[in-house]
């Protein structure tokens, strides 16, 4: 009898422990549930507007609060995966959209969701410069920001070695720069893909030959931008051995030491990526989605883009930070490949590219 009591007491204590653990579970925390369940709730406000985007999305909290106060909408951001994942998500859920608006579809991925009828027609109140507009789908996708993928060099390293840094894509295959370049792979990184597109734009159908030369010249291909920049680039990696890396035009603004940046972007090697936003077809809150995109084109948000997401604004009245104005110089004539050409050839290019590099 006594044993049974002891046992019962032990069981109760175990059960209590389990319950107290449950107290710190997600299921019992109410604050997470009251958002998003009522898309059109809360009288006197415009309800919730849901933004689907990629994992690099970031904007200052203050600006978001300001948007919510002024418009009456509650903004819910669902950010996960890279741009390709986002494009696939939107395309697969075209008939039952996961959000009201989407941001982060770039010019290399735009044709896929446009083809699946993901976006509704929409004209923002602020018209961004026509230079960023898509040839197909300009009535549905609104440019928000742009950033160029450029070859970067460690100026300090080249200075110490008394070697002139390369300036063009052709230079990279020059034996003088043997074993110096590291790039993220086109199959695993959007930065790598942009660099591949730059070489396609420069060399046309002969690009595989150029890549064969690059590899013969000791080019190192790694998985992601992080691996290249933090794992191999002499300026930013602890044990880096490669003073040339494929990165962004804005990267030199993050390696400023004293009055100078220790790195530089080669402006004749750039491929421009433009990111777009759009209202989703069948959105629960289309008015909110339109207000959100209009807000993203406002000077306040556009001026916050560089420091939040390392990209340049598209609206000309926006301002960029001091370091950016000095060290992040934008290419004037970046390489371009038309979005539908990318869509039509992406698979073939990637397969060819993978064949070249695994040779």
């Amino acid at each position: 009898m006594k044993h049974a009591c002891v046992r019962a007491a032990k069981l109760v204590s175990v059960a209590l422990a389990a319950l107290s653990l449950a107290g710190c579970s997600l299921a019992t925390s109410g604050q997470e549930d009251d958002r998003g369940t009522e898309p059109q709730g809360q009288p006197g406000t415009g309800g919730t507007v849901v933004l689907a985007t990629h994992e690099s999305f970031a904007l200052p909290k203050k600006l978001i609060r300001q948007f919510e106060d002024e418009s009456g909408y509650t903004l819910e951001v669902r950010a996960s995966g890279d741009a390709g994942t986002l494009a696939t998500k939107l395309s697969l859920t075209a008939d039952n959209p996961i959000a009201d608006a989407a941001y982060g579809i770039d010019n290399t991925f735009a044709s896929r969701p446009l083809g699946e009828g993901v976006f509704a027609e929409f004209a923002p109140t602020t018209t961004p410069p026509a230079a960023y507009a898509l040839a197909d789908g300009a009535d549905r996708l609104v440019p928000i920001d742009s950033a160029s993928v450029c070859v970067n060099v460690d100026s300090a390293w080249f200075g110490a070695e008394k070697l002139d840094p390369p300036t063009t894509l052709a230079d990279l295959a020059d034996p003088a720069y043997r074993d110096l370049l590291v790039t993220p792979g086109a199959s695993t990184s959007s930065v790598g893909m942009a660099f591949l597109l730059a070489t396609v734009a420069e060399y046309g159908d002969a690009w595989p030959d150029y890549w064969t030369d690059l590899l013969a010249n000791g080019t190192k291909v790694v998985d992601g931008w992080e691996d290249a920049y933090y794992g191999d680039f002499t300026s930013t990696a602890k044990a880096g051995t490669r003073p040339i890396v494929v990165s962004y035009d804005s990267s030199p603004a993050f390696t400023v030491s004293g009055e100078e940046s220790t790195t530089a972007a080669l402006l004749d090697t750039c491929f421009r990526q433009v990111e777009y936003a759009g209202v989703l077809e069948g959105a629960a809150n289309p008015a909110g989605a339109e207000a959100l995109i209009d807000w993203m084109l406002s000077d306040a948000v556009q001026s916050a883009l560089p420091e939040s997401m390392y990209v340049f604004p598209v609206v000309e009245t926006a301002t960029v930070p001091k370091d950016w104005a000095r060290f992040a110089i934008r290419p004037e004539t970046p390489y371009e490949v038309a979005p539908d050409e990318i869509a039509a050839n992406r698979e073939q290019w990637l397969t060819q590219w993978m064949d070249v590099i695994s040779r």
């Binding site: 046992r7 997600l26 951001v77 996960s80 395309s91 792979g185 790694v222 931008w225 044990a239």
Partner: protein, 551 residues
Amino acid sequence: MDGRHLPVRRIAGLLLLALGPVLVLGVLFVLPVSGMVAQGFWVDGRFAPGEVLDVLARPRVHRIAWFTLWSSSVATLVAVVVGLPVAHALHRLRLPGRSVLRAAVLVPFVLPTVVVGVAFRTLLGEGGPLGFLGLDGTPVAIISGLVFFNVALVVRAVGTAWESLDPRPGEAAAALGATPLQVLRTVTLPALRPAIVGAASVVFLFCATAFGIVLTLGGVRYGTVETEIYLLTTTVFDLRAAAALSVLQIVVVVALLAVSARLRQVPDPTAQRVVALPRSVRRSDWPVLSATALVLVAVALPLVSLVAGSFETSGGWGLDNYRALTTSGDNRALLVPVTAALATSLRTAVDATWMSLLVGLLVAALVTRRSHSVAERRVRSVLDGFFMLPLGVSAVTLGFGFLITLDQPPLDLRDSPLLVPMAQALVALPLVVRTLAPVLGAIDDRQRQAAASLGASPARTLLTVDLPVVWKPMLAASGFAFAVSLGEFGATSFLARDDTPTLPVVIYRLIGNPGELNYGMALAASVVLAATTACVMLAVERLRVPSLGAL
């Protein structure tokens, strides 16, 4: 009472009991995966299986499938071989500080692959201290990365079984003149076979579906089935080819599970298990101890470089990276400080743990009960394999499947905060089952029968016969589940909401943003994640109070 109807009734009862877990897995796994695979099989509303099968004829697919198979097999083999001496040393010998070591061994298992990738490459890279080996970007680097991650699974799963192994048969053999090696070969290893095979099959599945580590350490030259599915789904948008590879993956995993189920069959299911006290270290233990020391050093190397990096700041050594963890990082890289993400991670892990433990216990009990007929045994082993499947199937396929199949009431889970712990519990479930099943399977059914004939109710039988034996392994399993949840990245990054990211998601974000402080913070946050895991494991060890074990 017709005796011939009994098996049918038993199987019906079994299926009824299995209904709950099967439904859970059906909704959270079978439905999403088949939904996503169907996207590839139906082209413009037309069922076109032939075109999908054509994909399997591509030479590139052959190359990738072969590489996946052999690299995972070698990694599994190495993990088992190096894991066994460590399991013995940490679970059977009275080593000083062994509970700390046991907790520490599990640390690599939860580290985010990006961070480990960078740590490995700092060591193996062209400029690193081991750079002269020229291993960077080779299959050797990939395999050592896989072993680094998974050796803990072998140590813990086999160690737990070893601990509760009756030492007397071995002692008897030794008394009869068997050498230690003979005892190991003829007594100990056969008794451990279910645990070893179970651990090896889980490790193989983890290796075969590894994603980040293969990409980081192998460069882009070596694709596996998993990385290829990701590429095909998100970059190329060739859903047909992705479906073909997913089906291939499922077929291979099912075949592997069938083989491992056969190998796992216990030679003597009535073996008596008692908890043996760890014995003190003898001089003759030196081979085991030196092997253990070697493995521990190898595991510690990348960790040490990680910890060192976390203390390195722009102005020399210091705690700046750690102080910054409460902030949003350099250039506001984060929406949520690392400390808040840690809290989310812990809460998510609690949920994932109870979910996987609840379902896992039920499944383990179901699949190990003694079968009374061949048909019944088949049903049980099919169920057993079914619950292992989630580990072997692409997280990408599962993730996108969630989006397109769980989007309508009553199953509108797309935006549920519980979706992340559910997905993590699914990943942890096979581990929980594999930890519990060998122990439950080894309970002599006659004990239960004796209890029943003495008048004990089924619940009472469970309490007095099963629970005392399964108590410790249950703690081990919950530790596993907790660790899996803390470290899970693939499914989580896909499903986690921006306002409530988990720690690995935040670390990934930090390392993906430029700025020296962000990189340092990523390392510091990884150290915090590792330390948290080690503490949880240590607490679980502490919970193993002897009096509770004898409940």
